[in-house]
Symmetry: C2
């Protein structure tokens, strides 16, 4: 995890060049000469050492402290010049951070200019683009622009490459050229972006005699280095630094005044506990919190994004591939309206999802903007399809759904109505829970043992059981013939019978989150129970309406009720599989996908349905159609970013990126050995479960959920996990972690790209926290 990169009294800049050989070192020298307590760092230098940049600085900016981390003799790009033991990017970043640390310890103040090598995308010794490699620092940039013929283009392109990686530009600097006058054009260009361009008289041409060259250059430095324009440039960097600090300092207070936060009781909010996020990179936020002790000087600190930004993050913050995808589709289309039209990103996404979900029932893709709207669409689809079949003579408002207790499908009223009354909705006008919600057995690791724990339902009193591995629990085929499966089926069948026949309820759909009920508290359902529930609902045509058979010609016709799976949170590799439904070995009739869909970038949702559901809306009149649609339906940016991130995640799945994680989850069952796995190791899960303060643990894919011991049933209102949350946020015992809790459930969610090193470090810290009783 990269260290703090913004210190109150240490101003840091990256010097990037629009191309190589534009005078980055000369510009650096000018800045160093005009900056008190100045430091110069050249991480990687190539070329003959007599011309080396650090040597030049030592000569012409004698008061500056100078450091070069890696020096290669060949005047080649670093990835070719580097020989022997090539430093990787993390090593170089660490070297930079150590140098920064040294300055802080020495004088604790001043300015540091880090000069990159070549152009913005010139490779590091290990071959990465420098613009990407230095991105975790995100120091403000001095861009040295190109005054040669063609230099306008080179300078603007270089700026765009930096800009799309989220860098901020403090100043553009270049030499004057009377003939091409690039500085005139570029000054106007950058002024519109709020950035100053400083044009500097050309340094003298080089001759053959070194001493003569140096003498002339020395004179030039004396003259130009003392000029107002250079002095003002150096001062403007200090001004920018101060402005940035005061902006960061003010943001929490301004936010407190102006922002109404989601899911937030504002009486508990104060400017002191609002986290200001300056930027994010990979797994980490760069955050600032006014309330933190001893943080007066270190303005920003990296924090692991432990909720994967509300369960959306998949491929790392500030991922340049996704930024480029967003930019490309914005540039190619902007938004284009999506009724009766088609564009490539939407078509590809529909085809992509329908193919890789490997559910032959799903044939059509409907787009909306988020999980909640996608679930409303799914509900409308399912209820209308059921109504088309059964034509109940009850008011449409009295048709309910079958679901699970603790389910949650979103915050719009229609999505809320699919869940039973709870803290989330009890005070909401117009909310009405419409349906019946089964209590269900959960699978969890309890005190070192994988366990299916029965709910407090008399009919299921004796289904609790223990398993050798999580794979065994998910071995649906083996378990289907067990007595437990028979009990599940009987319980569901009898309950539904009573509800329909005695309570006169009418149901139009089965709606549930497969495997994990997220917002309800990361409740991990016994997959066998969910499987059996679907089985029974599908056998029940005569139960839900007038008995009738589907036309044999319709291979994807549903029976009983349409089955809707809310995979908004659980799908698309969050649980280690492309589809969560596959973990249940069930093909739903409608499947909803959001969050990870775009890899963690923009809102988008797809509701996929079978042709049999779709056909229910075919008719002679417009009013028969599904009259739902948002203005930005299937916006090209979301669709293209989704295609890009799904492709990347599928590649990771296939190229073995997760293999080391998977290896740890072999378990002892012979069957389905590798079918379930988590980025959190099973050994760690087992150790956690044995902690005194822990009731149970569950892990799958990138999700880790720890239920802490608590007063019974405090649920969402519980605050027991807050202690652990607080402890991890201090950063005193390991990586600083930003996390969210759900009552007594503490969870962490990695992105799909989090490294094993990071996971192990989080595991170690978490164990310390649990052992030290931090939760109290």
């Amino acid at each position: 995890m990269s260290q703090s990169t913004l210190h109150r009294h240490l101003k840091t800049h990256l010097i990037f060049g629009a191309n190589t050989s534009l005078g980055k070192t000369i510009i650096s020298t000018l800045l160093l000469r005009n900056t008190p307590y100045s430091h110069y760092l050249k991480p990687v230098s190539t070329g003959p050492s007599r011309e080396a940049d650090d040597g030049h600085i030592s000569k012409f900016a004698a008061s500056a402290k100078v450091k070069c981390l890696y020096q290669y003799k060949e005047a080649l790009s670093p990835h070719l010049a580097a020989t022997g033991d090539v430093p990787n990017d993390l090593t170089i970043l660490r070297g930079v951070q150590e140098y920064v640390q040294r300055i802080k310890e020495d004088s604790g103040r001043g300015s540091l200019f880090l000069e990159t090598a070549g152009g913005v995308h010139s490779p590091t010794p290990s071959g990465t683009s420098q613009a990407d490699a230095y991105r975790p620092l995100r120091w403000p940039i001095c861009l040295v622009a190109d005054s040669r013929l063609g230099g306008i283009s080179a300078s603007i392109s270089a700026f765009e490459s930096l800009h799309l990686r989220g860098y901020d530009l403090d100043v553009v600097c270049m030499f004057e050229d009377g003939q091409y006058q690039n500085h005139v054009y570029l000054r106007d260009y950058f002024e519109k972006k709020g950035v100053n361009l400083v044009a500097i008289p050309r340094p003298p041409e080089r001759n053959q005699v070194v001493e003569k060259d140096e003498e002339k250059l020395g004179e030039w430095y004396e003259k130009v280095g003392g000029s107002d324009v250079v002095k003002e440039m150096a001062e403007s960097l200090m001004e920018r630094h101060k402005t940035r600090l005061s902006n960061i300092d003010s943001m929490a207070g301004r936010a407190y005044n102006k922002i109404w936060y989601p899911f937030t009781q504002h009486t508990s909010v104060s400017p002191r506990n609002i986290l200001t996020i300056d930027s994010a990179s990979g797994d980490c936020f760069q955050g600032h919190k006014a309330s933190e002790r001893n943080k007066e000087l270190e303005v920003l600190e990296p924090m692991f994004d432990g909720s994967a930004s509300w369960w959306t993050q998949g491929l790392g913050h500030g991922n340049p591939e996704l930024s480029l995808a967003a930019a490309y589709s914005a540039g190619r289309y902007g938004h284009v309206m999506f009724a009766g039209t088609i564009h490539e990103p939407a078509l590809k996404l529909a085809e992509n999802l329908l193919k890789h979900l490997q559910n032959l029932r799903l044939q059509k893709c409907f787009f909306s903007d988020n999980g909640s709207t996608g679930m409303e669409v799914a509900t409308k689809m399912a209820l209308s399809a059921a109504y088309e079949k059964y034509k109940w003579d009850k008011p449409k408002n009295e048709i309910g759904v079958i679901g699970l207790k603790g389910s949650y499908h979103g915050d719009t009223i229609g999505a809320m109505d699919c869940s039973e009354p709870s803290t989330f909705n009890e005070k909401v006008h117009w909310y009405k829970g419409r349906g019946y919600w089964f209590d269900f057995p959960q699978v969890k690791m309890i005190n070192g043992q994988w366990t299916v724990r029965a709910p407090e339902v008399p009919e299921l009193a004796d289904v609790s059981s223990e398993y050798n591995s999580l794979g065994e629990v998910f071995d649906i085929q083996a378990r289907l013939s067990s007595p437990i499966a028979r009990k599940y089926r009987r319980y569901v069948r009898e309950t539904l019978h009573k509800l329909v026949k005695e309570d006169k309820m009418t149901f139009g759909a089965l709606i549930m989150e497969p495997v994990i009920l997220g917002a309800g508290g990361m409740l991990s359902a016994d997959p066998l129970f969910q499987h059996c529930l679907v089985e029974v609902v599908r056998e029940g045509s005569s139960l839900f309406g007038p008995a009738m058979t589907s036309p044999a010609s319709d291979p994807d016709a549903w029976s009983g009720l349409p089955v809707v799976f809310d995979e908004v949170f659980t799908g698309l590799y969050r649980l280690g599989r492309f589809s969560a439904a596959s973990l249940l070995q069930i093909d739903p009739d409608v499947s909803v996908h959001a969050k990870l869909l775009t890899g963690g970038l923009v809102p988008l949702c797809t509701t996929l349905a079978s042709n049999s559901i779709y056909s229910a809306f075919l008719g002679s009149e417009k009013r028969d159609a599904l009259l739902h649609g948002h203005s930005y339906t299937a916006h090209p940016i979301g669709c293209h970013v989704a295609n890009t991130s799904l492709t990347r995640m599928r590649e990771m799945d296939q190229d073995g990126s997760w293999q080391t994680f998977k290896n740890g989850w072999g378990g002892e069952s012979k069957t389905n050995k590798s079918s379930v796995w988590s980025m959190w190791s099973e050994d760690f899960v087992r150790s956690v479960s044995k902690q005194e303060s822990v009731e149970s643990v569950f892990a799958l894919g990138s999700v880790l959920a720890i239920s802490l011991c608590d007063d019974a049933n405090a649920g969402y209102s519980s605050s027991v996990a807050a202690g652990l949350q607080q402890w991890l946020s201090s950063g005193e015992n390991g990586p600083k972690v930003h996390s969210r809790v759900l009552g007594n459930v503490f969870y962490l969610m990695a992105s799909q790209k989090t490294s094993q090193v990071m996971i192990q470090s989080l595991e170690a810290t978490l164990m310390k926290g649990l052992a030290s009783g931090s939760k109290s």
Copy 2:
């Protein structure tokens, strides 16, 4: 409007260079030599004519046809070299299109290579970046990469600049360099993007003797030009062209199989009537429709986006400024979770909106994903605030809203419940219209006369009246003391009294779209009526619940009921003003903004509220809070793009960009002279209103709505406007137009950047269509 840019038998490419002097002309020559029926076009050439690119081509690719549009002697960037009458970008584009047209007419087949000047961003004679100037063509690109030191960086940055403008890259070509080996690195880089890199042996160095140089170069061309690698490169471009065509040809069919469209009765959809949108630029789609006659060869045709892509489009499709904004925020943050955190784009957007709406009541900003979710949030806010005050002893489900007939607030159930039953919702399970909706007088131009037309309500029978200008109708202050205002107030007061006292209804909010009710059929309400409705609702505290006064200390306290304005469609300059509420001279307590908010790029919505509304959710418990929130709440991309587009629109408002439009709307009223205006001229509106087939017309901001004569009350089910829609889509009588209709209402919506020339051309075409009785 740019002409078709994709012809079945004419393959066109843009040759861009990663920098100047990389051998674009030599690469072009190699391609031309290996391509049958080849054409070379150099729109702008600079430098001494003996070295001119077209001369080179004529010499070394003798069979190619060669054309240069503008030749300048100085070897400078075109914006400096061009002297005298400098051609603007449109003139150059037109020249390109004329040349393409000539090829089509001559041979009707072949290949055209357009060589750009310098690097990708090198300016055109008028100073625009070439990458932007040629974007309407969006021909596939051959990028000539840089083999010099620093060339890796230059090549990747150039690619990124093109990519973020939505160009597709067909091939990368460059000279080999044994020392730097950029081609090795770049081949790997571009391969990951699915693009081939072709490395070609260096051409001979130049000497001083021209003849000698040419001889050596000729030999080189013979050798290299006939090599397999060059032949394969030329062939691969043809393959790419064919693949692109077959992809476009297949898309409608594939979409028909896989896509479930919003608001669409699929029985009326066939692959032949799905419009394939290849890209979009400015106001236009580049579209392909299988059903069009005689369009076998012209694969793409530009179509004016006449619905502004479902009312979202504000700053033109493929706007590079918005693409860059999206990319920057993606690169800086990705998404960051937004509870208890703050990031700059969200904070700035909240401050920006709260400041510029100039409604002092509005103090807090809540984010959601689209207009529908934003209206659900608004409704939850208003109903809870009212309940906090009145504490009715009725079930929460029985509290209704006051609205207008024909209102529409979105497709999620909660938003639907705010509207009366209609085609949109009558078949939706769980929908229940909750409230009362007033019929209302409308303002429209009827037969050359601005008219307020009374609804069919006995109490308002005699309010119909005529006005000299639209400004007069919107002169609320003058009209407030008129007898009509008194009638409006009395009517509202008596109706509400009856509903509450006799019908025992309970109301919790007034919810309406100010000025125009969009989806209901572009219904233009008399602004005085909406003003008076708010006035009466606000005086009615004793009517809606137990009488009580607000604490005097709360300056933004609401009285009567909270007033919610749905400005999702009407706000943010759609009607020519930052806020539509200002047209009514009403400060609502809650205001909802979406669509144009992001200038037409990605979904985002803000619900703004007063502190008095906000305070109703403060309490000791979490359950008292507004427990609504989406995962991508306040996603940085949306917020930053919104800030960028709001800033740009405000600049346009202030710098006189719309002045010529405004000038046409002086009207005859002395007061409020310039307060209302439209991009559609008043003269045109008047002429349209006099057409026999037209019932009435309304125009404001970028919106034009024409009600066509029809059987009474067919409403949304009417199809009378479809004839006009069809006629305009043919493109035979002017610009080809893609439009949407609402029953008998035909509307066009410009973006905020549409030129007056385009508007005039659309007006002329529309007049022809109306005059020719196309609607029949």
